[in-house]
């Protein structure tokens, strides 16, 4: 359960979210949509701790969202940013394997079989694994970014425009994969009509910063 209780977020002296409340139960699929600059990405970035609310409270499974609990909270979360930026010459497989070398994931191990299986679900050729990440198109990188999260099997996925830059034929697979696991909670910022339609909680953000729906 993720709870945002009357939070306000300010950036550069400007209020982006004001008294915003939202409750998301386990396994719910939330689509956050609305006009540009209404605070959709800010909401996701607040949920990873990048922005700290000036007012209100955030709770993850009854734990307060404070630095002391971040390692525990982050073990459950995967965040897919708007752009997946390649690091130097790293290959797609280097990128996918990277999180498994982190201390927080020491109990997990990378599975190539599972990667190949997910590649085929997302209609990505498995020979891309040995390609440098920077050679992939924006849409392909987005899908590879999502794969990183799926391989980690996190219970909460936060995705910023997961279908942006992806052609229509592949959008369905992304939405399918994101919304497939019944136990996985998903909060996705999107403009994609199909994704909004298939979500079970719809949160429309407006510049006036209204309180969100409660799932």
């Amino acid at each position: 359960m993720i709870e945002l209780i009357s939070i306000s977020v300010e950036l550069g002296g400007k209020t982006i979210l004001k008294d915003f409340s939202l409750g998301v139960g386990k396994g719910r699929k939330v689509a956050v949509f609305g006009e540009s600059g209404a605070g959709k990405s800010t909401l996701l970035k607040t949920l990873i701790g990048m922005y700290v609310p000036v007012k209100g409270e955030i709770r993850f499974n009854d734990k307060p969202f404070v630095p002391e609990y971040m390692p525990e909270i982050r073990r459950q979360v995967f965040y897919l940013p708007q752009d997946v930026v390649p690091q130097g010459e790293e290959t797609v497989e280097d990128f996918l394997m990277y999180p498994f070398g982190l201390h927080v994931n020491k109990s997990m191990s990378y599975s190539r079989d599972k990667t190949v299986q997910l590649f085929s679900s997302l209609r990505l050729p498995s020979d891309l694994l040995n390609q440098p990440l920077y050679k992939l198109s924006g849409g392909e990188r987005k899908r590879v970014g999502l794969l990183q999260g799926l391989l980690l099997e996190r219970s909460i996925l936060l995705a910023d425009e997961p279908t942006a830059g992806v052609d229509a034929a592949n959008r369905d697979e992304i939405i399918q994969l994101l919304f497939n696991e019944s136990d996985t909670t998903v909060i996705a910022v999107t403009h994609d009509e199909s994704m909004i339609e298939r979500s079970d909680v719809k949160v429309e953000m407006k510049h006036v910063n209204p309180p969100g729906e409660v799932a």
């Binding site: 990048m50 982050r74 979360v77 130097g88 999180p99 982190l102 201390h103 927080v104 994931n105």
Partner: protein, 261 residues
């Protein structure tokens, strides 16, 4: 045996050599003659003052005064680092202790085990050696810190994604540290490789002019180069390590408050 003294008239003649530079500026119309005289004037005044207080410090040769002066040099070095990195001055409280630990540890090691002056706190040794260590550390630290924070900032989205999936600041900045360290290390290694061929080290030249045996001068030079190398490596690493406390938020994200507007 000391170096042959230069008379006041000799120094005036040395200053007259600047006429060649003035002529070059006139021919090339670069218009920097005024700046040349201002900079040269400042250099002359600063070095004269250094001459006066170094004479005083050497004569006094009191450990507390010498150490106090060294702390002043360290503070000035840190101020210069922050002035040139685009980071706010509040970072001083993290880079200053880092300099004390890194340069301090290396100087204690070399003074007690290698140079072994008598007394150990001899200002005539300690101050010029610390000056060389700090001067070089400062240059490396500027390049390394600048590159470290600018590379995290440049790919903040990727960095943030790593932190969000549970990477610690150290894990998420490992690649940035490597890039930054290489940027600072490259020129230092190139300089080392050409030493004695392209550049003649200043300290060695000074010692030879001062009447030292060239072999003794070379031994000092080798020892001081080693000290500089280790001090700069430690200083750059510790300045980044200590500054992370302020450079990143308690949630692990880049703290934009550290950058100058």
């Amino acid at each position: 045996m000391g170096a042959h003294d230069i008379s006041t008239f000799g120094l005036v003649l040395a200053a007259c050599s600047l006429l060649a530079s003035v002529t070059v500026y006139a021919i090339t119309k670069v218009g920097l003659t005024r700046d040349l005289f201002i900079s040269m004037g400042r250099m002359g005044v600063q070095l004269s003052l250094v001459g006066v207080y170094l004479t005083g410090l050497f004569r006094l040769n009191h450990p507390a005064v010498t150490v106090g002066y060294i702390f002043l040099m360290m503070a000035a070095a840190n101020y210069s680092v922050l002035k040139n990195t685009g980071l706010k001055r509040t970072m001083f409280f993290f880079t200053f202790p880092a300099t004390i630990v890194s340069v301090g540890a290396v100087s204690v090691y070399f003074m007690t085990l290698v140079f072994q002056p008598n007394p150990l706190y001899d200002a005539r040794y300690l101050i010029p050696i610390m000056g060389m260590l700090l001067g070089n550390s400062m240059n490396r630290t500027i390049v390394t810190m600048e590159r470290f924070y600018s590379s995290v900032r440049k790919d903040e989205s990727g960095y943030s994604a790593l932190v969000a999936m549970g990477a610690t600041v150290n894990e998420a900045t490992a690649a940035n540290l490597k890039v930054a360290y290489r940027a600072g290390l490259g020129p230092a290694l190139a300089n080392l490789a050409t030493m004695g061929i392209v550049s003649l080290p200043g300290m060695m030249t000074g010692q030879i002019l001062g009447g030292s045996d060239p072999l003794v001068a070379i031994k000092y030079q080798v020892a001081i180069i080693l000290a500089i190398y280790v001090a700069t490596d430690l200083s750059a690493l510790l300045c980044i390590t200590f500054s992370k406390k302020k450079g990143f938020t308690r949630y692990g994200f880049l703290n934009h408050e550290i950058f100058k507007k």
